[in-house]
């Protein structure tokens, strides 16, 4: 090459000034290949790098341009996108490579730019990927064979490719039918505001609207290849659409909508190998029964002599009894004006055998620390029952075997640990663990209740409060209480008003409200109002049933349904529930595996619910859910029941608003009559998405 020849000449000329011999020339000659190699390699490699970067810039621009053009001009074929890609590639490199579409690459100086597209999933949404690639010969000035060729580098090729994905505007699905169809008939409607409607059913036409049924969302997508519309039905994205353009805006053959709660651990005890239910029922062992327990004799004032207290008989039902017993029996069937056990003491253990029942005292007060009552407790005071006292400093422990009936005017159970067992081994009495049908008020002050046989309130319209704490209520399979048979469950609210847990102010740590209903939670039509305060409510082996009539409100609550538990909301019920948004655990961390095997409530959160999730029906649970006949429900939070079909009928309405989670994720939806499901995504940025606008991004 001239360059090296000139170089050599110059070097020779320099030395020729002083010396004509060949020594220097020889050295120059010997070192010339090295010099040329070093210099040439620098030039060539630098050139290759420059070419490679230019090529990469060109294909990057081409891929981005194709993806952008595809969105902007609804271009969906590579032929139509190619001009945009080629122009962008040439602009990015000042026409250095003279790119042309492959089809028109006729001249040797032109570089064909290849463009392909494929369907991909971007952040859970169907999208298109555009791949631009180009190949050029690797030009060499010094080092290649055919050039000066010292280094024998073969003439090769340089190529670059880039892949750009189109990122669609985030349109989070607010209704996902995970396994089945969304079927509407009559005047039923499913409307998503700021969010889409998705069905993951692949076979058949996965969405149907007959009559004047309407399915409307910002995006309506299905994995199937068709939807079915008839009559005045409509499926699509336009709220003001007419049936003539029905279903034209449905995305068919869409990829499956992803489950944002998929990472959440299943709470099925069996599936997860976890035990979030306390099955232990570890009743503390009672003290040994005395060989000859004391029997109070109300006819005579003789007890003081025996050191157990005294009973001043002032006439029938006018006696005032103050007993300080350790072991009692025969505590049935007498009525006095006031019965006070363990007056003035907050310690001591009282063992009562043979039942504590048939009382008709005006007031009954049980002081002291621990009570063990065998044979049931049936307190029917005219006015008031108090267990514990304001002077009580240590929590009470009370064990009642054989059922507890509190038909008092009012009953207050001071803070303590209560084991209320409806059934008693060897006894014919098998009833509710705790029941009332007369009381006007029943206050359970927490903090720990284990009720075997459930709690049943069948009559009397009581006001019942269950203060913050851990409640484990288990239905008793052999419940034969004549009043309540057929109503068996872990909690049966027949009449009255109920408050679960304590309300908390926004700046306070929620009280540890954790409720387990093993056998279902039934709020019958006769109940007037039910308030659920912040907490987590586990239900299994029975539904969350809300009958026709009651007003149910809840704030900061999560219902976890598992193992044959669904939810039903019947005619006329008015339900307003919101999921926790603070002091809650993120879905992905629930239940926290690190708490496995530790103490209840086993999620390590002391009753704090799952953020944003109102109802979590576990994945293994296929129990059908329904909202029927004029029931109205306002739900702020996600209803997650991916394996359970949902039926909405009659004039029922469900209004669900969520932020960042689908409002309704169920196996399938059947909506008839004038059932309305209205879903709103409240978050402006959408679900799990960082992109607020459509754009293209390089991904390879």
């Amino acid at each position: 090459m001239p360059y090296s020849v000139v170089l050599r000449s110059v070097v020779r000329a320099l030395c020729r000034l002083r010396d004509r011999k060949a020594a220097v020339a020889l050295i120059i000659a010997l070192s010339a290949p090295l010099l040329i190699a070093a210099t040439g390699l620098a030039v060539d490699v630098g050139y290759w790098y420059e070419q490679q970067e230019g090529l990469q810039s060109a294909v990057d621009a081409a891929a981005l341009a194709a993806a952008t053009a595809a969105e902007k001009y609804s271009v969906d074929s590579t032929n139509m996108a190619e001009p945009f890609a080629v122009a962008a590639a040439n602009n990015a490199t000042n026409g250095q490579f003279a790119f042309t579409p492959p089809a028109s690459a006729g001249t040797t100086t032109a570089t064909p730019l290849t463009l392909t597209s494929s369907k991909v999933t971007v952040n859970g949404a169907a999208s298109t990927q555009w791949v631009a690639s180009a190949t050029i010969p690797r030009r060499s000035f010094f080092s290649a064979v055919g050039g000066i060729g010292f280094l024998g580098v073969p003439i090769g090729q340089q190529s670059a490719s880039a892949s750009a994905d189109l990122v669609l505007p985030s349109s989070p699905a607010c209704l996902i039918a995970t396994q089945g169809a969304i079927s509407l008939s009559g005047a039923a409607s499913v409307i998503g505001t700021n969010c889409g409607i998705s069905s993951n059913e692949e076979t058949g036409c996965s969405m149907s609207a007959t009559g004047s049924g309407k399915i409307i969302g910002t995006e309506v997508a299905t994995e199937a290849n068709c939807v079915s519309v008839s009559g005045a039905g409509y499926i699509g994205t336009s709220a003001s659409a007419t049936p003539s353009d029905s279903s034209s805006t449905v995305t068919l053959n869409a990829p499956a909508a992803t489950d944002p709660l998929a990472d959440m651990n299943p709470t099925d005890s069996a599936a997860a190998g976890m035990s979030i239910w306390n099955p232990g029922w570890t009743t503390p062992s009672a003290p040994v029964e005395a060989a000859s327990p004391v029997t109070p004799d109300l006819g005579f004032n003789t007890w003081s002599a025996e050191g157990v207290g005294d009973c001043l008989v002032l006439g029938d039902f006018n006696a005032g009894c103050e007993l300080d017993p350790n072991y009692l029996t025969g505590m049935s069937g007498f009525g006095v004006a006031s019965l006070l056990l363990n007056e003035g003491t907050t310690t001591g253990t009282t063992f009562i055998t043979g039942g504590f029942s048939g009382q008709s005292n005006k007031t009954t007060t049980l002081n002291g620390d621990d009570y063990y009552i065998n044979g049931g407790m049936d307190v029917t005071s005219d006015t008031a029952l108090t267990i514990g006292s304001s002077a009580q400093t240590s929590p009470i422990t009370m064990v009642v075997n054989g059922g507890t009936v509190m038909n008092n005017g009012s009953a207050t159970l001071d803070p303590g640990t209560y084991y209320l067992n409806g059934a008693m081994s060897g006894s014919s009495y098998t009833g509710w663990g705790l029941s009332t049908d007369i009381s006007s008020s029943l206050a359970l002050e927490g903090p720990t209740y284990y009720v075997n046989g459930g709690i049943g309130i069948t009559n009397g319209g009581p006001q019942m409060t269950l203060s913050s704490g851990l409640y484990e209520l288990t239905s008793y399979a052999g419940n034969s209480n004549s009043e309540n048979s057929g109503d068996a469950g872990a909690f049966y609210a027949g009449q009255g008003t109920y408050v679960f847990g304590n309300p908390v102010s926004s700046d306070a740590t929620p009280a540890p409200n954790t409720y387990f209903f093993d056998g279902g939670l039934t709020i019958s039509g006769g109940a007037r109002s039910v308030v659920f305060n912040p907490g987590i409510y586990y239900i299994r082996n029975g539904n969350l049933d809300i009958g026709s009539g009651p007003t149910v409100t809840g704030n900061g609550v999560t219902f976890v349904l598992e193992g044959n538990a669904g939810f039903t909301i019947d005619a006329g019920a008015s339900v307003s529930l919101s999921a926790p948004s603070s002091n809650c655990v993120a879905p992905a961390n629930f239940p926290n595996p690190s708490y496995e095997g530790s103490a209840a409530p086993y999620d390590g959160t002391d009753g704090e619910g799952i953020c944003g999730v109102l109802i979590y029906q576990s994945r293994g649970d296929t129990t059908a859910d329904s909202v029927t006949e004029g029931a109205s429900g306002a739900f702020a939070g996600a209803i997650y029941a991916p394996n359970a079909p949902l039926t909405v009928s009659g004039g029922a309405s469900m209004t669900i608003s969520t932020s960042g989670l689908p409002g309704l994720e169920v196996a399938s939806v059947t909506d008839s009559g004038s059932g309305a499901i209205n879903l709103t995504e409240t978050s402006s940025s959408g679900s799990d998405s960082g992109s607020t606008s459509t754009g293209a991004m390089l991904v390879q």
């Binding site: 070093a38 210099t39 630098g46 952040n123 990122v167 390089l698």
Partner: protein
């Protein structure tokens, strides 16, 4: 006595001639001295050319490595978003690996720890939606490759020459991310 026909008539002329002859006789030794002087300049010249080429090669490789690694990092982060819905950045170590692969054998193996040569400095910045003056919005990577290049053949004679290439690459679509990405400490 017979005169030598070659004896010069004038002393000065003959002296000059004798000096030329002496010079001719002394030619070998003088050439060696002159060659020694010449060869220094020659070697300087040869190594200068050699090093100029190598300097160009190193600079090209450094630029190639930085730009290729920055692109790979941004593309990786975007692809993570496409696949998982979250922007996940590559670690400084991964970026150094990309740098080394792209720069090829023209440079020694780089590192991101202080004192490495070449040194790759990874700085992730997240501006969120703020479009500050001179700063792009969203998540972006400032990648700097520094290489103290030393000429061969001049050990200790010349100081090493610092070469620095910096590039800024934005991760597209990352305006709303709160991603915290690990920068290098070097």
């Amino acid at each position: 006595m017979s005169k030598s026909p070659f004896r010069p008539e004038k002393q000065g002329v003959f002296t000059g001639c004798g000096a030329v002859l002496a010079f001719a006789r002394a030619r070998r030794a003088a050439a060696a001295v002159e060659f020694a002087i010449c060869s220094v300049a020659l070697l300087l010249f040869i190594f200068g050319i050699l090093n100029l080429g190598l300097l160009g090669l190193s600079l090209s490789a450094l630029a190639r490595g930085v730009q290729s690694a920055a692109r790979a990092a941004a593309v990786f982060t975007s692809a993570q978003y496409a696949n998982t819905g979250a922007f996940t950045c590559p670690s400084p170590g991964n970026i150094v690996t990309d740098f080394n692969n792209a720069a090829g054998p023209a440079l020694p193996s780089a590192g991101d720890a202080s004192g490495s040569n070449p040194l790759v400095t990874v700085t992730w910045t997240n501006n969120g939606t703020n479009n500050q003056a001179g700063d792009p919005p969203g998540l972006y990577l400032t990648l700097t490759g520094s290489y103290r290049w030393s000429p061969i053949g001049f050990n200790g004679l010349f100081p090493s020459i610092p070469l620095t290439i910096t590039t800024v690459t934005t991760v597209m679509g990352s305006q709303n991310q709160t991603t915290a990405c690990a920068s290098s400490n070097g």
